[in-house]
């Protein structure tokens, strides 16, 4: 894993922690960007963690590009010797898998899909050797996911499952992007899950939908009153499969302003995770119990 630095014009430094996706690469980016935030360097205007990379925007009239680069290299060296521990939170996200709305949309765009004769969830289950839709849901919701990046559009989380590579669910993007995706669709492309924060174009496979708004520019949703986007990089997500009745119930509660997601503080340790993935995940998910 070799860090690569590149200037993005005169206002950005782009840092690739690794060419390929891994929890280690994501974690390295989180460590450096967290340290950068704490360092409070004058002239830094945006700090954007991504999956296996991150980006810093700076004002070159305040800090010269070479000085900015030197600061980042210094922080990288310091982050390497620091313990890989992240104080974060786990958020439970209810999902109606195989729902009627994404189903209607995916049937509309069937000719843009690799396998027009099956649905996105059936296709992905098959190419990943999972036992049908039920087997897929079990694998998808059985282990937690890191929010490894927030972006593309406002508040949209990319998520990376906290399992070893052999258990990662992988799927290609649509052959040609759809012109429509229902708001709050739970999608998947490559090894990443996402939640579409707004309705719009998209190329990820569609597996289900959450009743839980994650972006509210008007800030009327009670748990989005402090800030309009729910997710930030480093959050941990646990999908909770729900049936149609529970989905409808949550939608009604959200509309009435009475619903909030279950959220608990957790500490993630990369060393603990690398030692025993399943035990580490169990401990993290148990934090939700009683919330």
């Amino acid at each position: 894993m070799k860090t690569r630095y590149s200037f993005g014009g005169d206002e950005h430094i782009f840092v690739e922690c690794d060419e390929e996706m891994s929890l280690e690469a994501f974690f390295k980016g989180m460590s450096i960007t967290t340290a950068l935030k704490e360092a409070n360097i004058k002239g830094v205007t945006e700090i954007c963690p991504a999956n296996a990379s991150f980006q810093v925007r700076f004002d070159p009239d305040v800090i010269a590009p070479d000085a900015m680069l030197a600061e980042l290299k210094r922080l990288e060296a310091a982050a390497q010797s620091a313990p890989s521990v992240l104080d974060t939170r786990i958020i439970e996200v209810p999902v109606l898998y195989n729902d009627p709305w994404t189903h209607e949309t995916l049937m509309k765009f069937r000719e843009r899909h690799q396998d027009p004769t099956s649905t996105d969830i059936e296709y992905t289950a098959r190419i990943n050797g999972l036992d049908g839709i039920d087997g897929f849901i079990k694998a998808h919701s059985g282990a937690p996911w890191f929010v490894s990046m927030v972006g593309f559009v406002a508040g949209l989380p990319f998520l990376y499952q906290m399992v070893d590579r052999s258990r990662q669910i992988q799927s290609p993007k649509y052959l040609r992007p759809r012109t429509d995706t229902p708001r709050l669709t739970v999608g998947h492309g490559g090894c990443f899950a996402c939640i579409y924060s707004v309705r719009g174009a998209g190329g990820y496979q569609m597996f289900g939908i959450t009743p839980m708004p994650i972006y509210d520019p008007n800030q009327t949703t009670p748990y989005l009153r402090d800030f309009m986007c729910l997710f930030k990089p480093g959050d941990i997500v646990k999908w909770k499969p729900v049936d149609r009745a529970e989905y409808d119930h949550i939608v009604a509660e959200v509309d009435a302003g009475r619903w909030s997601p279950r959220i608990a503080p957790v500490t993630f340790s990369l060393a603990e995770f690398q030692k025993d993935i399943d035990a580490s995940n169990r401990r993290i998910m148990e934090a939700l119990d009683g919330r």
Binding site: G8, E11, T45, D61, C229
Partner: protein, 323 residues
């Protein structure tokens, strides 16, 4: 009291100098695409440089004023008219209560900036009045203007009509346009020959050109250095593990048509980028019409910083001229 929208124009939005600080959660900076012209318009009517203005694309709106105001139009060559009488560009002029401001046909450039004394007083969202339409955020109800909208104006100082900028301080888009670019990011993914051709070719602005990004057509498809695609990147050679996109970054999906991201940028994604247009040339992109021949010009960081200082010098001279 303020301005009533009779006709909205093609895509008219409220913009100021933008909303930095939220790119890490996918909310781009927004703000005027040609910030130099936006700033000049404000200074002409005695506003602070960052007051909210209207950004007008290709075809102008028709606006009825419900109070007296001083206004100025800069940027694209889109001549303003008061009750049908043409007014000068880059010059302040009065509009009386009950009069209608409209525009003649576009004669050059792409985006005009209309500043009004006091600025457009829409709510401040996350520190800015700029419109981010993709996220339904900011501006007037998070969207471009529609007929029937009413926009309030802030309190402004009284300034004289006829304040004007000399030709030398007005922005004029070049033909062909030249966009200076610092190669980098994933430049190493393409062959040396492809790199040379990228700068040698003359590209043309594609019809898909908006506040998110400008697409260019007509150059040679890029040849990639072969590699086994890294885990998580996707199978196309132009794919990378989804990463952040710098403002001005030049991505080339499939290696065919470069897209330069602008102030409503998607903040990240899975396409490789060959470099970044320098900050000094971002204003110019906002003034490019579809089909404009465009060349990318390779520069060093030193040249990028010199161009940045030169642009700052122009802004300084504009401010000094109007103070």
């Amino acid at each position: 009291m303020g301005v009533k929208v009779v006709k909205p124009g093609l895509s008219t939005t409220v913009q100021d100098q933008g909303r930095p600080g939220y790119y890490h959660i996918g909310i781009p900076v927004s703000g005027g695409m040609d910030l130099l012209s936006l700033t000049a318009a404000n200074l002409l009517v005695g506003n602070p440089a960052g007051a909210a203005v209207l950004e007008i694309v290709f075809a102008g709106p028709e606006l009825e004023f419900t109070q007296d105001a001083t206004v100025a139009v800069t940027g694209a060559h889109l001549p303003p008219k008061v009750d049908g009488v043409e007014q000068p560009l880059w010059t302040s002029f009065p509009v009386k209560k009950g009069q209608v401001l409209s525009f003649a046909f576009l004669k050059g450039g792409a985006r005009a900036y209309l500043a009004v004394t006091g600025g457009f007083d829409v709510p401040v969202v996350l520190g800015s009045r700029s419109t981010y339409a993709l996220g339904a955020l900011g501006g007037h109800q998070g969207r471009k203007l529609a007929a029937g909208d009413e926009l309030p104006l802030g309190q402004g100082a009284v300034v004289a009509a006829g304040r004007t900028l000399p030709e030398a301080l007005r922005r004029k888009p070049g033909q062909p346009a030249e966009l200076r670019m610092l190669p980098g990011l994933y430049w190493h993914r393409i062959t040396e020959a492809a790199g040379h051709r990228f700068f040698d070719d003359t590209w043309k602005v594609a019809p898909e050109a908006d506040r998110i990004g400008y697409r260019f057509k007509g150059g040679t498809a890029l040849e990639f250095n072969p590699r086994e695609q890294p885990f998580g990147a996707g199978s196309d050679p132009s794919n990378i593990v989804d990463a952040c996109y710098p403002y001005g970054s030049v991505q080339v999906p499939g290696g065919t048509e470069p897209i330069v991201l602008h102030r409503d940028a998607v903040s990240g994604g899975g396409y490789f980028m060959v470099g970044t247009v320098i900050s000094a040339d971002m204003d110019l992109i906002g003034q490019l019409q579809p089909h404009t021949p465009t060349r990318f010009v390779k520069v060093t960081m030193e040249e990028a910083l010199a161009a940045r200082a030169e642009r700052r010098g122009v802004l300084y001279r504009i401010a000094a001229h109007l103070s």
